[in-house]
Assembly symmetry: C2
C-alpha cells in the first residue's frame, strides 16, 4: 500500500506514495473533509480543480443519512457521489461521542441515538467495518474509543483497552470479509490521551495486531497544542517506516508543516472549509479575515502569491461584499481558495522533502506564518 520514496536528510519528513484501487496518492497529503459525501460548498469538479488527491467522508453521517440501502443501491460511495479518486472513511467513533444523544458503551459496541431523528442505532467493530466495506472506501478506520479532553488516567486506560479489543475484532472481521473486486486498507488507531505510557502501550498493542497504516487518534479534542505534539514525540519513533502515519483531525497550516517534519504522512481537518464559510482565508502570512472593513476597497487578491482561480480573478473587495451579503458563491470562493492553499502547501512540502530542504522550508514557513511552533 505505502511506498517510502525518500527521507529528508535533516528532519524526519517522509516522501511516499500510497497505491489504491482508485489511484495513487502522493504523500504527505491532505484530505478534504466531505462529511455527508460532499465537501461543504464544493463539487467534485471544484475538488479536482484545486488538486485534491483524495476525499474523506464520515461513516456515522452516511450511515444515518442517506443510509446504507441507498449507497449500496448506487454501487458504493464513489459511484453515489461521483468521485473516482481514493476515499478514506472514518469510523464514526468520534461522532458517536461528540454528536449522538444518549449512548451506552459496552465491550460489545456502542448503542446510541441518532442526532438527526433520535432513532436508536448500534455500532460494533464488526458492523462498522461491514458498513465501510459497503461504502467501498479505499482506506477504512475501525471503531475506536476516543477519550475526551481532559481525561483522567483511568478513563484513558479504559479507552486504550477497549480500542485494542475492538481493533482486533475489526481486523478479524475485515480479513474474513474482504471484497473480491477491490482491495481496501484497514488502519489501526492509537489512543492514550495525554499519557505517555498509555500512548506507547496503545501503539504497541495496535502494531501487534498489524494494520495497513497507523493513525494517531484522540488528538485535536481540545488539548493544548503542546500535548498534541508531545504525542507525536512519544508515538512516531515506535511506528514502522513502511506504513503510512495519519494524524487525525489536524490541523492549522503551521501544525501540518510541523507534523510532517516529525514524520506524519496524512492529514484531515475541516478547518479550511469551515473557516472558508466564515470568510477567513489562509495565506502564508496567516489568516485574512475578509469581513474586516479594511478590505472594503482592497482590489488585491486574497494572496498575492497564490495561483488559484479565486486569487487570479477576484478581489478582496468583491469577496468581502459577497461575505457580508452572505452570498453562497462567496463562501464557495473562499473555501475554494483555502482548500487550494492547503493542497498546494502539501505540494510544496513534498517538493521540499524531495530536494532535501525540508528544514529550511519548515523554518521559513513557520517564520512567515508567525507560528508559535517556530520554537518547539
Amino acid at each position: 500500500m505505502y511506498t517510502l520514496l525518500k527521507k529528508d536528510n535533516k528532519t524526519r519528513a517522509r516522501r511516499g506514495v500510497i497505491r489504491t484501487s482508485n489511484g495513487e496518492i502522493q504523500a504527505p497529503f491532505f484530505m478534504p473533509v466531505g462529511t455527508n459525501g460532499s465537501v461543504k460548498t464544493l463539487t467534485a469538479e471544484d475538488l479536482n480543480e484545486v488538486g485534491a488527491q483524495i476525499m474523506l467522508s464520515n461513516t456515522y453521517h452516511l450511515f444515518l443519512r442517506p443510509g446504507m440501502d441507498i449507497i449500496k443501491n448506487a454501487g458504493g460511495l464513489h459511484k453515489f457521489i461521483s468521485w473516482d479518486k481514493p476515499m478514506l472513511t472514518d469510523s464514526g467513533g468520534y461522532q458517536v461521542f461528540s454528536l449522538a444523544k444518549l449512548r451506552k458503551m459496552t465491550d460489545e459496541g456502542v448503542k446510541f441515538q441518532s442526532h438527526i431523528d433520535g432513532s436508536f442505532q448500534f455500532f460494533s467493530p464488526e458492523n462498522v467495518v461491514e458498513v465501510e466495506q459497503i461504502l467501498g472506501s479505499d482506506m477504512i478506520m475501525p471503531l475506536d474509543v476516543c477519550a475526551p479532553y481532559p481525561c483522567g488516567r483511568h478513563e484513558a486506560e479504559q479507552s486504550v483497552e477497549r480500542t485494542t479489543l475492538w481493533a482486533k475484532r475489526s481486523k478479524e472481521y475485515f480479513d474474513a470479509n474482504q471484497a473480491d473486486d477491490k482491495r481496501q486498507f484497514l488502519f489501526g488507531i492509537i489512543q492514550g490521551s495525554i499519557y505517555k505510557d498509555l500512548r506507547e502501550r496503545s501503539a504497541i498493542e495496535i502494531m501487534d495486531i498489524g494494520f495497513d497504516g497507523y493513525a494517531i487518534g484522540g488528538v485535536s479534542v481540545g488539548e493544548p497544542v503542546k500535548d498534541m505534539f508531545d504525542t507525536l514525540d512519544w508515538v512516531l519513533p515506535l511506528l514502522p517506516e513502511d506504513k503510512p502515519r495519519y494524524f487525525m483531525g489536524i490541523g492549522l497550516p503551521d501544525q501540518i508543516v510541523k507534523a510532517v517534519g516529525m514524520g506524519i504522512d496524512m492529514f484531515d481537518t475541516c478547518i479550511p472549509t469551515r473557516f472558508g464559510r466564515h470568510a477567513s482565508a489562509f495565506t502564508r502570512k496567516g489568516k485574512v479575515i475578509l469581513k474586516n472593513k479594511e478590505y472594503a476597497s482592497d482590489l488585491g487578491p486574497i494572496d498575492e502569491v497564490c495561483e488559484c482561480m479565486v486569487c487570479k480573478k477576484y478581489s478582496k473587495s468583491y469577496l468581502r461584499h459577497l461575505a457580508v451579503q452572505k452570498e453562497i458563491s462567496g463562501l464557495k470562493l473562499i473555501t475554494y481558495h483555502n482548500l487550494y492553499f492547503y493542497i498546494n502547501m502539501m505540494k510544496d512540502i513534498r517538493n521540499a522533502i524531495e530536494e532535501d530542504r525540508y528544514e529550511d522550508f519548515q523554518n521559513k514557513f513557520l517564520e512567515e506564518y508567525g507560528s508559535e511552533l517556530r520554537n518547539r
Copy 2:
C-alpha cells in the same frame, strides 16, 4: 443596438442580436439574476459554463451594499464582480416599492428607508441613471413607478403619468451625461397595470420620448397569467420592430416560450435560481421536486435529455441526499442545472425561429410541459 435578423413566418417570434460594448447577445435571450452582483450559489465560471450571455443586477441592492464608492473604486460593476460579458441593471424602482421600509414618493423622486440598515435614501430619475452610469451596465433601466396588483384605475393612471414624467427626465439626464469611453443603452418602461387604455397610453408616451429598447413592467406582481399575456396583446403591436422588447420578471419556462411567440426578446426571473435553492429542477416535462421520497434511490439524472454537467454526472439519488442535508453544493448543482435548462431552452427557441418552425416548437413544448398556455 438591436438588429432584427429574422422573423418567424407563422408566429410573431423574432430572431435578433444586440451589440454592446461588452459583446453581442443573441436574442431572444434569458438574463440570470445577480441581485447583489452574484447569481445566487454560482460564480462567473459557472455562468460561462451554462452559456449565459448576459447577467442582470440590481441598482437598489448595489447602491445600498456595497455602495457606489466601492464599485466606483473598482472601476465599475463589470470589474468589481469580474464579469466581462454584457450586463443589464434594473432601476431599483420595483425594490423601493417591494423591499424598502418607509417611502414617500413625489414627482421629484422617492425617499425611502433602506431595508438593511434603516438609513434614509433618495432616488430620483436623474440620480438613478447617474448610479447606473457609474455601474457601467450595458443596458440601463430608468426609475419607474411599478403599480401593485391589484391596483385601482386611479392609482394605475398616476403610475403611468409619473413613469412618463420620470422617463423624460431619465432620458434628458442620460443624453446629457453619456460616458465618453462606453456606449450604454437606455430602456423605456411601460406601465398601466391591467388597463388596456392605460397600457396603450403608456406605450405611446414612452415611445414618443424614444429609447434604445422597450420594457413591459408592472407584470409578474401577482396578477393572473391571463392578465400578464393580455398586456402583451395590447402593447406589442404598438412597439417598433427595430428595438428589443423586454418582458420584465417573466417567467416560468412555458410563459417564456409563449411570450417569444408573441414577439418578446428579453427575459429575466429569479425562478431558476430560487427554485434551485429549494431543490426543484426544471425539465421539458415539468418540475422535478428532488426532495420527494420517490427519488431516494433513483440513479437517473434530473433530465435524461439534458446535457449539462450535472445531468451527465450526478444522480437524483445523490442530489436528493444533498438537498435533504441542506448541503450548499447540492443547491448549487440544482441551480446550475436550472440555469442551463433556461439558457439551453433559449438556444432551442432561437434555432426554431431561424428554421421557421417556431409554431411547432411552441406547440410541442407547451404540450410536453403540460402547460395551461397551450389553449391560449
